[in-house]
Subunit: 166 residues, 2 copies
Amino acid sequence: MSLDTLTDLFVHELRDVLDAEKQIIKALPKMAKTAATEELKAAFEEHLEVTEKQVERLERIFQELGKPARAKKCLAMTGLMEEGSELMKEDADEQVMDAALIGAAQKVEHYEIAAYGTLATYAKQLGMEDAAALLEETLEEEKAADVKLSELADQINAEAQDVEDE
Amino acid sequence: MSLDTLTDLFVHELRDVLDAEKQIIKALPKMAKTAATEELKAAFEEHLEVTEKQVERLERIFQELGKPARAKKCLAMTGLMEEGSELMKEDADEQVMDAALIGAAQKVEHYEIAAYGTLATYAKQLGMEDAAALLEETLEEEKAADVKLSELADQINAEAQDVEDE
């Protein structure tokens, strides 16, 4: 597709983030399985449910646009996922792996914060108020997920540090 | 390397972000060349200088750790860069391309915000106050760059929208 208008770019980026969300849905169960700390495992499982709702919101926006909800391979998320997979293969102490998983998850959250921030801005510029509200809702969820991961990191990094001191 | 301790993870992530910065240094001149809006071109050129100083800070931290400043391929940044390259190949209106470039750059900024946020937390946990201060300094620069891009987006998205209305 050619990017002649801001609407073209909006659709282009919606397709990108739809694929990103689908990749995340595949990865979260693996991350939950790898996590040793119960709260972290639960956070990943909970975020899976949130992500499924976010996909539904995207589908509603495609409907509003009268376009098929067709995903376009998100190369950036593919890279983030490859990095996460490599990390999970490392020979690691349990607490250190949990700290690493949080770092990887926060990188994913930040990709989404950037993507949804941009999408919400486009929707507002295009006068699509309903779409903008849906995108803002997801944006706030991603920011909240990032804050929650930072809180978990405080506890888990301290435990990882204790491993070092033993 | 195996991730037995939080220090191992800290070094692992430092190597990752060092490679990420080097990839960004290669990409910024192309982004500046592609940008049509003068302020955006200038923002990319200015960020190149900032990024070079950020690499020097990383090298100082490696020195403090007594480790060689060896980069480790950052797969996530490779993905972000591939996505950016694909984007720059699209047949696009000038203003729409500028809007797209800002979106791509903000995704890169957010990767760095996540990476430096995590690294600063590790440094503090490890009692490396000097390293933590250097990492916080870079983190604040990345956040400021993101805010600046959002401000530019307000102007450029409106111009891209005008294209649509013509």
